[in-house]
């Protein structure tokens, strides 16, 4: 059992707080993009995840993700030894107390669930949403975390995912895609203008996300060491370059650089660097950010081509960005940052590593999409997923929550 380091512990405690802070950030990022009659229901999607997923994490999520691999299903999920956090007091995870690690990882569970909700905006029943993310977090997220970080089979194969490119972003985007398909389009989609009602709110949300992402990525070093430092810097530069990439693409294709583009591009860059942050040099962060910014901008057209109503572009940003990041992690991972890489490269070569990354992406998409699809269909059967037409017209704030966002 490790010896506690107070510096590392301070850092992960604060990183946990930062990741938690991303959730209200996401609430605002999403909330500003919908019409004002749905601002609260959209914000509630993220905010409520802070409640339900945190409790679920303590009860069962943690043990499924990080319980022992030493049982029949150990490649896919941890054993139930830590149910209700049993046996976690007084333990260590490296140089930090285990409860700190549990808190840190719990924040990831929360934000991942919340990310999905961007595809559900403006038409989903709150009760259905509540059930969905609860089940999803147990059945999809926790096993995914186990497979990649908890010693499960993807970890075994050697897929690199520093802070959650697959586990967080691709998994949530695949669920979002399932959601957009099962829910169907918003009333008026294609004819009515669904324009953001409050972009300053969205930019504030993006600022909070950027800020919190330092905890997400640098904190994933689980220590306040040089690795945390390079991950921090790579994260920052990727966000910056993501903004520039998106703005450049937009300026060329649409003639104007937009504020929403700047915010979206920064998020795209952050998504892209997530799997890579602890494996690449800071300067590679610029490349990854640029690529993610441009490709996510182009990825927006996916929903038009395939005609699904991913209201707030979870697929376009987290799906595309996560995939770009996962692949580029394979391409750009550097022994300067990740010494063990030398061995991997000797073993399977750069091509083999990239292939492994691609396998991780595909497994995640397939698993999360299929599972999400099934869960959603079941909920739809039993209680229905969608508010009725009139409620959609009135807005979900009033019909689902009996509240109005603004009385200015």
């Amino acid at each position: 059992m490790g010896q506690i380091d107070y510096g590392d512990t301070a850092f992960i405690l604060m990183s946990s707080a930062l990741v938690l802070f991303m959730v209200p950030g996401l609430a605002l990022f999403y909330g500003g993009l919908v019409r004002s009659k749905n601002v609260l229901s959209t914000i509630m999607h993220s905010f409520f995840a802070m409640g339900i997923i945190s409790v679920v994490w303590a009860l069962v999520g943690y043990t499924i993700a990080f319980g022992s691999t030493d049982w029949a299903l150990g490649s896919f999920m941890g054993s139930f030894e830590h149910i209700g956090l049993a046996g976690t007091l007084g333990e260590m995870e490296g140089t930090i107390p285990l409860p700190v690690f549990i808190a840190f990882q719990g924040m990831f569970a929360v934000i991942t669930a919340a990310l999905i909700s961007g595809a559900f905006a403006e038409r989903m029943k709150f009760s259905a949403y509540a059930i969905f993310i609860t089940v999803w977090s147990i059945v999809v997220y926790a096993p995914m975390a186990h497979m990649v970080w908890g010693g499960g089979f993807l970890a075994e194969r050697g897929a690199l995912d520093f802070a959650g490119g697959t586990v967080v972003h691709i998994a949530s985007a695949a669920a979002a895609l399932a959601g957009a398909i099962v829910l169907g389009k918003r009333k008026g989609y294609g004819t009515t203008a669904f324009t953001p009602h409050n972009l300053p709110m969205t930019v504030l949300g993006a600022g909070m996300l950027w800020f919190g992402w330092f905890g997400f990525n640098a904190g994933s070093a689980l220590a306040a060491d040089e690795l945390a430092g390079t991950a921090f810097l790579a994260t920052h530069l990727a966000a910056a370059a993501g903004m520039l990439g998106w703005l450049a693409a937009e300026w060329i294709k649409r003639g104007k650089p937009t504020t929403l583009g700047a915010a979206s591009g920064a998020v795209a860059g952050l998504v892209g660097i997530t799997p890579a942050a602890g494996f690449v040099t800071p300067m590679s962060g610029i490349l990854i950010g640029l690529a993610a910014g441009v490709l996510c901008f182009l990825g927006l057209s996916l929903k038009e081509r395939f005609r699904f109503d991913d209201a707030l572009d979870v697929v376009g940003i987290h799906g595309v960005g996560g995939t770009v990041g996962a692949i580029l992690t394979g391409v750009l991972a550097s022994t300067l940052i990740y010494a063990d890489l030398a061995e991997v490269l000797a073993d399977v070569g750069r091509g083999g590593l990239i292939l492994e990354q691609a396998i991780g992406v595909v497994v995640t998409i397939v698993f999360s999409f299929v599972a999400s699809f099934i869960i959603l269909k079941l909920i739809d059967l039993v209680i229905g997923l969608r508010v009725d037409e009139e409620a959609e017209e009135t807005g979900c704030d009033l019909t689902e929550h009996a509240e109005s966002g603004y009385v200015l």
């Binding site: 008026g188 009515t192 009139e390 017209e393 009135t394 009033l398 009996a402 509240e403 109005s404």
Partner: protein, 112 residues
């Protein structure tokens, strides 16, 4: 000239505007209002207390047209704004004695 005022459901504004435009109406003015009527209001809940809100969001639009266009405008509005559900709104018609285009000083029907 006639001034036609219509109170319609907010999501109908675009359709009405397009229809009037096709009729040859060159301009109109719209704004958000709160309507009280047969369509009942709703209840809001804050910190456990219930509040009844009797007003519904509506959009009011106003258009001044030459006399002979008035009926067509009225009909187009009714056609576009109708959903058949309570709360579809009203059209009111008034007489307008004069009109001036500020930019040019043109008066009467010319100004529209």
């Amino acid at each position: 000239m006639k001034k036609i005022e219509a109170i319609v459901k907010p999501h109908k504004l675009e359709d009405v505007k397009d229809a009037l435009n096709k009729l040859g109406v060159a301009g109109l003015t719209a704004y958000e209002v709160k309507g009280f009527g047969r369509q009942k209001g709703h209840t809001e809940i804050y910190r456990g207390a219930e509040y009844t809100v009797d007003f519904r969001p509506k959009v009011k639009l106003e258009v001044v047209v030459e006399d002979d266009l008035a009926t067509a405008v009225e009909e187009a509005i009714v056609e576009q704004a109708r959903t058949g559900k309570i709360g579809d709104g009203k059209v009111f018609i008034y007489d307008c004695e004069g009109a001036v285009r500020i930019r040019t000083g043109e008066r009467g029907p010319e100004a529209l």
